[in-house]
Symmetry: C2
Subunit: 323 residues, 2 copies
């Protein structure tokens, strides 16, 4: 398949990557979390975006890896904060080792991301660093909002979307922008790449939230209904609360939110979503994001337009994914 | 006093520094830990080192601040890992708020350090970033070794010195080197600055360990004997274990290490140190480091040698400090 050459290049580069030697206790968790796999969408976006401007997209490998290492650093620390036992079906770092190990290995992983970023061509370093810093801070802001929202009684849908924009989309946007930066694209084009990625990221996260409720358990690879079980204030729940106000569903929904039988709760909340057409609305929202991303990509003037095909394929995969 | 102009410049710059706006919950702990004060030795070293090459040492303010912000980031995360309730007499971040806050605010603080570093003149950015990354990774390695040593039965004195070199000295070395980099000093001179700082950092930490046992409680500002209470394997303890082998002190020392009465334990271990002349040896070791730093500084060829005076004053202050 067409995108395989990018995937292969990344796999090889990550296999060769040495994060540090001693003490092994510090670096082992990095190799562990990086080996759990994942779809590596972000670095693929960086490489494919670079390919729109230069034949030699391989040049963008180190910055692409920086984005993926940074992403995995956030997972390592988020898993501590969320007390998550599992990540991609395996024990999280703080569970397999301990919290201190996950804090410190995460810290050195963030440094490793900067080290990889620093391998970008020197003339692009200042811009790349500036944008990386801003993005990294925004991802932290998103995680802080996520934790704050978990404690709040009332969250507005717009605030939820802003939270996922910060926590997820800005990094997807930056991944694409960085491909442009590393390949010498002009600032306006880089901003356009960012916007494509940002829309893609919003669609991605919205799809994630939908799959969390509706995925086929055989295919999904993690527990379906996790968000419902923990009363996660996703767009779906917030919209359901809104639409149920003053209807018979209002009491039913609030009853389910404090229910003890989790299996019944998942079914019950899903039933309300269905009755209120929440899935349709959420899907329309995600589709609108994907469509904007595709339109912006189609409209983008680049020196190697035939290379858009790879990005289009990847966006299509993200758009239609079942897990 | 002579060094005041540097201190004032730093104070003003830190007062003006904005780390981020929203969510306030994320940025509040940064302002809190940065306001706890501390001696700000590292950024002073950066500014003074820059002043050896250029009249306009103010140019080095953002990178100098990067070093101090990085240092405080390590304190925020180390305090979680060490479960420390107090820092400079005030509640640590994870105690005042919670662990999640300290993890995430620390993360964004590390990003803020890179942001400040990124404000160095562009032609020096690549070198500065490369060296900062290496230093930051080494500081994490030092903290990991520190935690590993706490669990080990036997630690060699050389390994302890290597641990404090990584955990403390490399950042002091880098602080001086960075002043040189920011002021356009050549690579050989930058390496010499690093070596001065590294020796100064070793002397600094060794003095810290001595003060922890012998400081005047009225002046020290924190609990004297803390290292003894927690059986911290400092050079002093390791040397005492070594020297007491096969003597009457061997049994006495090992008895104190498991004693329950902490006041008696501190007195008892200190008594053994005195009897074995440990303080004298430790002081000689620290003095040798300070002397190397001073000699290397004296021998350093710089365009503005009269500016060495500030560094000499600061080194003297560090050398003779009582707290």
């Amino acid at each position: 398949m067409a995108v395989e050459k990018f995937e292969r290049a990344l796999t090889e580069a990550f296999e060769k990557q040495v994060y540090g030697e001693t003490p092994a206790e510090l670096y082992e968790p990095i190799h562990y979390i990086m080996s759990l796999g994942g779809k590596r969408i972000r670095p693929l976006l960086t490489l494919m975006s670079a390919g729109l401007f230069r034949e030699n997209w391989q040049n963008a490998l180190p910055p692409a890896m920086a984005v993926e290492v940074f992403h995995n650093f956030t997972l390592m620390h988020d898993d501590i904060m969320d007390q998550a036992p599992l990540r991609r079906g395996k024990a999280t770092v703080h569970t397999r080792w301990d919290t201190n190990r996950a804090i410190l290995s995460g810290d050195v992983m963030l440094v490793a991301a900067y080290e990889l970023l620093g391998r970008i061509e020197e003339r692009y370093l200042k811009t790349a660093l500036l944008r990386f810093n801003r993005t990294a801070a925004e991802v932290c802001e998103g995680q802080q909002l996520d934790m704050l929202f978990a404690e709040k009684q009332v969250v507005r849908k717009e605030d939820y979307l802003e939270m996922i924009r910060l926590k997820t989309s800005v990094l997807v946007g930056f991944a694409m922008e960085l491909g442009g930066i590393a390949a010498g694209a002009d600032p306006t084009t880089c901003r356009a790449l960012y916007s494509i990625g940002e829309n893609l990221g919003l669609g991605f996260q919205q799809t994630d939230d939908i799959l969390d409720v509706y995925a086929d358990p055989e295919v999904f690879g993690k527990q379906v209904g996790g968000d419902i079980i923990e009363n996660k204030k996703t767009w779906l729940l917030l919209r359901a609360v809104e639409k149920s106000e003053g209807t018979a569903f209002e009491v039913e929904l609030s009853g389910w939110l404090s229910a003890a039988d989790m299996e019944a709760k998942v079914k019950g909340v899903r039933g309300i979503y269905d009755a209120l057409d929440i899935r349709t609305e959420a899907t329309a929202l995600a589709e609108a994001c994907f469509q904007r991303a595709e339109e912006e990509l189609a409209a983008l003037a680049v020196p190697r337009p035939e290379q858009k095909e790879y990005l289009q394929t990847l966006i299509h995969q993200i758009r239609t994914r079942k897990k």
